[in-house]
Amino acid sequence: MRKTFHQELKELKGEVLRMGQLVTEQIDDGVKALVKADEKLVAKVIDGDDEIDDITIAVEEQGLALLARQAPVAVDLRLIQSLMFIAVHLERMGDLALNIAKAARKTTVKSEGSPELIGLINKMGKKVHKVVDASLDAFDRKDCVLAQKLPEMGEPIDALFKQFFKELTKSTDEESLEWASNMVLASRYLERIADHAVDIGERVCYLVTGEFQEFSDQEQ
């Protein structure tokens, strides 16, 4: 029994799951910072991103070290590869959450935007949170069935994203147009985050079955 190795592998998985939790919080904070134009929250998200970046590098280093030292095979090999891929997806999701928070700084009008758009972005944020949670849960439990549901869970997010453009056309002056444009941009970031969650789901099924299959492309 390779106790030490499997313990190290378990710890590495724990790190990736912890990273997933941090990213989920960053998404929530990013959306909150944007809709409330809360500078303190923006700063918090910026700080939080450093920790996520650090974990990504640590996961990559530890993953490489395990590959080199332990020469893992079969499910162990697939797990390490998946951990390294998932960490990269999470890191990008973190960057997108950061972009959402930073969008708050680009607006000149503070907290006076259209309630429809604020409602939409809040709703979208909640749905994205759910998809990301489900992707992490599928990964944690090696649940390919749940992972395969992720594209379907992402569909309403794509639909919401399209609604933003309709709302954008309602802007009457330059300031509100600028504010609304930032919201559209943020919704695009959210939609991209959900795509990364679907990619994590694909990795989960690869981990479980050993065969890589792309889920249907939700952007089409």
């Binding site: 390779r2 499997h6 020469a71 893992p72 095979v73 697939r78 079955t209």
Partner: protein, 260 residues
């Protein structure tokens, strides 16, 4: 590389050592010009199975073989088979290098002489060709008359490979060929195996799973699930598949070290 011609075909092989039922119902095709690795825990019968392939087990009293093994379609256990000639075609390299206590030249020339080659020029040619193929010629060409036992362990093992090659075999059976030699020599033998498989069919038994993963095209996993039960062939597939996505849970547990 992974040619689909079967050089050796084994069908429903059972093997007994006296009362002990060692191998049960093994069926496997060994592909020509490829390297096939047998892996499994100690006592799983992989070396026993290897020795069935050139009837080396005949030398052990009270063994019983049932089932069929063919080499190029011909039954190697048929009554008219000459085992000396079979073992020339299906040569074996053992765990510990075992050069004869004679010169390097005589070690390599031993087999051809037994099989009737006496012409000096012809023997010279065979010795040079065999040592070259065994990646040893450059190191020993200037000292062919020194004792084979004076070589390092890794060189001795390559000398043994040259000795087998000298009788122009078709299949090389290797029983843990690297377990008694240093890492640099292991590297040389593994490189050598890669070159040799273009001319020979190679079967290797190894405890070192990473070695199996490195050198073989096909891997067979043997396991005796209970101490008093015979070993069986659990899974046999392309090495890439066996080491990334094996089908059988028992294979996965073994290669990922989850046994015991």
């Amino acid at each position: 590389m992974n040619g689909d011609t079967f050089k050796i075909n084994v069908e429903h092989l059972d093997f007994h050592y006296g009362d002990f039922f060692a191998l049960e119902d093994i069926s496997v095709g060994i592909r020509q010009y490829a390297t096939t690795a047998f892996i499994g825990p100690s006592g799983c019968g992989k070396s026993t199975f290897l020795r069935c392939l050139n009837r080396m087990n005949d030398l052990i009293p009270e063994t019983k073989v049932e089932g069929k093994i063919t080499l190029d379609g011909n039954d190697i256990y048929a009554p008219d088979v000459d085992t000396a000639s079979l073992r020339r075609r299906v040569g074996m390299i053992f765990q510990a290098p075992n050069p004869f206590p004679m010169s390097i030249y005589d070690n390599v020339a031993y087999g051809p002489r037994i099989h009737g080659t006496t012409n000096k020029a012809q023997l010279d040619e065979i010795v040079e060709k065999s040592l070259t193929r065994a990646a040893l010629w450059k190191e020993v060409s200037g000292k062919l008359n020194t004792s084979g036992l004076a070589l390092s362990g890794g060189q001795q093992q390559r000398l043994c490979i040259a000795r087998v090659i000298a009788v122009d075999p078709e299949v090389l059976l290797m029983d843990e060929p690297c377990s008694a030699i240093d890492p640099t020599s292991i590297q040389k033998i593994e490189d050598l195996m890669d070159e040799l498989k273009s001319k020979y069919t190679i079967v290797i038994v190894t405890h070192n799973m990473q070695q199996a993963a490195r050198v073989s095209d096909w891997t067979a996993f043997f396991l005796a699930e209970h101490a008093d039960r015979p070993a069986k062939l659990i899974e046999y597939d392309k090495t890439d598949t066996m080491f990334t996505n094996p089908s059988d849970k028992r294979t996965e547990d073994y290669i990922t070290g989850r046994f015991g």
